[in-house]
């Protein structure tokens, strides 16, 4: 699987990680280009359905990242999100969804190098795990094109 390039979707919060990723760029730190960043107002907005949909649409890995605890722009969004992730992860584990493919992290607006590190390590990990064929097999079905237009 040497020619396998993982597709990774990153759900990040506007106030910390998005700004952090911006800093990575302006600091001219080079990191893996496999990641597609989706900006959200807050980690509290990141619905578990979006994570499932990312896998549906062919993602091999997911990064979910936001402000460190106590740093949330909306005071408590990340605390709520953390609770939800704890429970969601357990459920995914029971259902046999590969939780190693979902990387949660706190990256602040000042941690440009941490963002590069998070992305790079996730890409390396997913590269080792290979494409998420199990989920793709389930998600790849003929009617899908019809429904999505």
């Amino acid at each position: 699987m040497s020619d396998f390039e993982p597709r990774i979707v990153a759900f990040v919060c506007n106030w910390c990680t998005y700004a952090g990723a911006d800093l990575t760029g302006t600091s001219r730190i080079k990191y893996a280009s496999n990641v597609r960043i989706v900006r959200f107002p807050c980690t509290g907005r990141i619905d578990y359905m979006l994570l499932l949909k990312a896998f549906d649409e062919g993602a091999d890995g997911i990064i979910v990242s936001g402000c460190h605890p106590n740093d949330c722009h909306y005071t408590s969004g990340n605390f709520h999100a953390r609770r939800r992730w704890i429970m969601f992860r357990e459920l995914c584990d029971l259902m046999g969804i590969d939780i190693n493919r979902i990387q949660f992290s706190w990256v602040s607006a000042a941690e440009g190098s941490k963002w590069a590190d998070v992305v790079n390590t996730t890409v390396t990990k997913i590269r080792e795990l290979g494409p998420y064929t199990e989920y793709k097999k389930v998600a790849n079905w003929p009617v899908k094109e019809v429904i999505n237009g």
Binding site: I86, V118, V143
Partner: protein, 266 residues
């Protein structure tokens, strides 16, 4: 049984309530819900160990609500559901009268929901050992085996939503699965939609499910979907110290502690 019937009869005769939700003998020796509106309907009521249907599912239905003040014959899980519904502002003392059927076969008339709350807090929500074993067995499997097990187990599901209809906590007028712009959950009976629907159902019931097994009992194909809820109940205990339905106070998932522990966020 007579005690229950007499109480219901008295309530309907005195016009304290307009309708009493209870169990009656159904077809195939399966008790079903009955809505007693006349004093003579009270004779239909039954109560025994076969009555596992969660009657609290009916109190949020607008057809029942339209009848006005109601009474409900409530077993322990039903009482728990009622308190959870009350905490979500779906019922209150003004429109509901609870006749409790206790685990030791007593019939108690509760004056208000606060009394019901005190009563249910005497019993902890705990998972049957049968299900604990099933969950342990799943935990011992490899991840791929678990995945295949669930795909296989959920394969017959054709999304009749009987589990949703039987659940007292699924009272949303428009459920996420009913949305088609965007279509969050694919409708056909297919692995992906089945998987997503059951994950969605379990997630939405996190911290609200009171372990009544109504969903699994309602499933026409006997899919053990309550295992998901049970696992989340166990995890709520493991991570956040568990929960009980409460009239006042925060729900498990609508609150947080600054020192919630996890080990997977870097």
């Amino acid at each position: 049984m007579d005690e229950l019937r007499n109480k219901v009869k008295a309530l309907l005769e005195a016009k304290t309530v307009n309708v009493v939700i209870g169990y009656e003998e159904g077809t195939g020796k399966k008790p079903r819900a009955v809505f007693a509106v006349k004093p003579e309907d009270a004779a239909k009521l039954i109560y025994d160990s076969r009555c596992v249907l969660n009657l609290a599912a009916y109190i949020t239905k607008h057809e029942v609500k339209a009848k006005g003040k109601m009474a409900i014959t409530a077993t322990l899980p039903v009482m728990r559901s009622i308190i959870q519904l009350a905490s979500e502002f779906q019922v209150n003392d003004n429109n509901l009268f609870v006749i409790g059927l206790t685990p030791d076969n007593q019939v108690i008339e509760f004056k208000n929901l606060a009394e019901v709350e005190t009563f249910i807090h005497k019993f902890e929500i705990s998972i049957d050992s049968k299900y604990k074993e099933a969950l342990e067995k799943l935990d011992k499997m490899s991840r791929t085996d678990r995945w295949n097990w669930w795909i296989n187990e959920l394969a017959p599901c054709f999304k009749c939503y009987a589990c949703r209809a039987a659940c007292p906590m699924c009272y949303c007028h428009r459920c996420t699965v009913d949305f088609n712009q965007p279509q969050w959950i694919p409708v056909p009976s297919h692995e992906l939609g089945n998987l997503e629907w059951h994950i969605m159902r379990a997630v939405h019931l996190t911290g609200r499910c009171i372990d009544c097994d109504a969903c699994a009992n309602a499933c026409p194909l006997g899919i053990p979907i309550n295992l998901l809820n049970k696992r989340l109940l166990e995890d709520a205990k493991k991570h956040f110290g568990g929960y009980q339905p409460m009239l006042k106070g925060d729900h498990l998932m609508s609150t947080f502690k600054p020192d919630d522990k996890e080990n997977f966020i870097r």
